[in-house]
Symmetry: D3
Subunit: 172 residues, 6 copies
């Protein structure tokens, strides 16, 4: 059995992430999804708590029937980059393959003896910044995020959250 | 839909935990299992990493077909107890009921408006300390832990791990 | 008896703060003044230590005979915003009303069940940045800060402090 | 004008502290009261939050009309003892004399050029441990703590707090 | 015997540093070289670990026969600037003179009673940013860094390291 | 060229350490001496600062003419044991062999692919606790520590330091 690792901040989890995950799941049996910057929340680039991100990702995975193949773990940042891959290994179930397009993550895990593969998403035009902007403007994000994520964001009133954070930012 | 919260260190996850979980799952639809003291490992009371604990709990839940009803989240300690319940809320999917026999956890969550219920386990004679002692002596832990946990502990050679840690302790 | 909360960095404490405090004190019996970012000092935006800020605010309150109605507490930053209101509650005497114009602080405390009111200052043209600039240029800050604060800043030679910090900044 | 420094954990603030403070106030004009271990609370040795300790000390000082001569600052622990006196200096209004019976505090501040004097209390039979024990047993603490502190502890239901914490301790 | 202190980040150690060190060593018998921001590495401005920086500086000192006159200590950052000089004193062998051109470092150490002298380098056209740029482009850094440093950087493949970090930066 | 690693707290550095170092230096060309628990000082088990320990070890190495073969690095503790060997690697010049008698250190570094060898000292009757006890009693430690360490401890008045710390301990 082969397990992969997929790191992101998922602020929020969108179709680009989801599609890349589905593609990567063709190459491994199970995936560890690392919710990075776990402690960051209520900030312009990081509006959602780790718990909210775990909840929205879980909902999307259940919607597609792949929750049973995934582990979702929240990992907080470490200012010592030299310790970062070790921190991930200590928080995660064992894994063999790392999926990333980030050259530094690639270097750190390769130095540690891991196979590193590219993340391939067929949905390239979506990113978290765009999704947050749409939410702020009150525009529909249908199609940009899994529908379970869309419902979740509506339920927690993501729009009000992001607006408050942005107003706070402007004032300073 | 109602979600519960169940906090433990799970060093390791044993039948006492598992039975209490099964009982509590009769009262809620889903359960958030909090792996506490996430950063502690390679220590006499805390031999296993958060990742290892997540992996062993997942295996036990899958064995019993209840993985789909649970979230497993690792949360590190906070020296400021006054912030602890808030930390849990920030790391966890939303929950309504807290299952605990710990009077302080009860007080902190009740003060925060949560319903707190007792954990009831039909298997009272097992605790983590006893399991670790058996492992050290090379005795069977069959029946004390879910069989998937037993296999997992054998696979990572838990005996050697615990022996090294204990020898280290004695020397100091 | 009703107690309010008033959060600021007070680098330094100026007439805008002071006037808003006097206005807010018409609505509550006592006020907790939170000196935020307590650990920051000797930096361009944060030249003064928590101790210096406590001392200058106390001097201003005594000058106006309202020291006995106020508590001044220093609170350091917390990178986990989700825990911030809890940190304040743990460091502060009990309070019922939060005075703030910051939308995020408003959201966090309202979610926690607090009444949040606007801070109203009749002195709008003064802010800490302007005061620091005047100090650097050696210009008078009379009228911009309470006179007890003016004396204090002269006594600790605030001008030399800010100049050293700014030169340091330019060099990097 | 001469200012003194008086460090304690004040769990809770009792007549021994109060009497020593009154004696020390004969030698200086003002006193900085440092509420140490600010972040510790909800623990057997440290049941009360920094905010609660500030509130109870303030009440006692007001009762005796000496609130206007004191500053109460909360300072969290620092694991690097070599930095401790510097941390105090950064959080506190300027002071000249340190009142302490602790030989290490004496050494650290003398090395830093401060005058260190002994704390003299006429009330020697009271200490925080005894007060907490009385509270747990539901016995009167009248005379052991200033009456304003007694009222405060009753208002926050200190007995229930300490009982929950102690039960938690026993269980582990 | 008189000992000096010389603080830098040394990312990497270059001829400007080295020449200033040689000049300063005419005024003191021994020098403590502080490798600052010790925990930062694998970042655009801070590509090298503390260990790598200690190793490259040592090699350069040995090359010039002055290793026996120097102490190299790694010190991590402290967010509380008010504690910074105390941190250095706690990590360093005793010293009497501080060599620095940084006005804030000057202010902090002078306030602490130290003699502060200017660092004088005859090699002004070299700085760490330029060296890192040359490395990235694959151009020779001969003459910009001591030859022992040049060999070391080649051995650890500094070029690949810096390229990975910079690509990572661009992506975000 | 082969480099070894030797970890200790060195509170203080004594003949047992020194003899083991000399023996180990027969097997490698250079040695990295790790001064562990760098931030701990002014405590009963850890009276000396990292800087003092670096200074006393350096003096002993110079006395024996082996300073040029050694690197002395101070490393602070990390509560996450799983990251500990990575922290050492990030703070230390590259090394190939680890000298330790500690089974956990052995396990952690072997898991990381390092050769681990036993430390062999011909001087078994000396340990740091005994040395500290002798110092407190004002008895001679001649022969227990290198003579350069003895002079250093006298110069900083180690006896007074340890006495103050112990009295502090007794009081609590």
């Amino acid at each position: 059995m082969k397990r992969g690792l997929f790191v992101g901040r998922f602020q929020p989890y969108h179709m680009g992430h989801h599609n890349a995950l589905l593609n990567a799941l063709r190459e491994v049996d199970e995936m560890v999804i690392v919710v990075g910057s776990a402690k960051e929340s209520f900030q312009p680039q990081n509006p959602f708590t780790a718990g909210e991100r775990i909840e929205m990702i879980s909902a999307a995975l259940k919607e597609d029937g792949i929750f049973g193949k995934c582990y979702i773990i929240a990992v907080d940042d470490i200012s010592e980059y030299a310790l970062w891959s070790q921190r991930i290994k200590s928080y995660s179930p064992r894994f063999e393959v790392v999926f990333t397009n980030n050259p530094l993550v690639k270097e750190l895990f390769e130095a540690d003896g891991y196979t590193v593969k590219k993340l391939v998403s067929n949905i390239k035009q979506v990113d978290s910044t765009k999704v947050r902007e749409k939410i702020t403007k009150g525009e529909s994000i249908g199609g940009m995020v899994p529908s379970a994520v869309e419902s979740f964001l509506r339920k927690i009133n993501a729009r009000k959250r992001i607006e408050s954070i942005l107003k706070d930012e402007e004032k300073q």
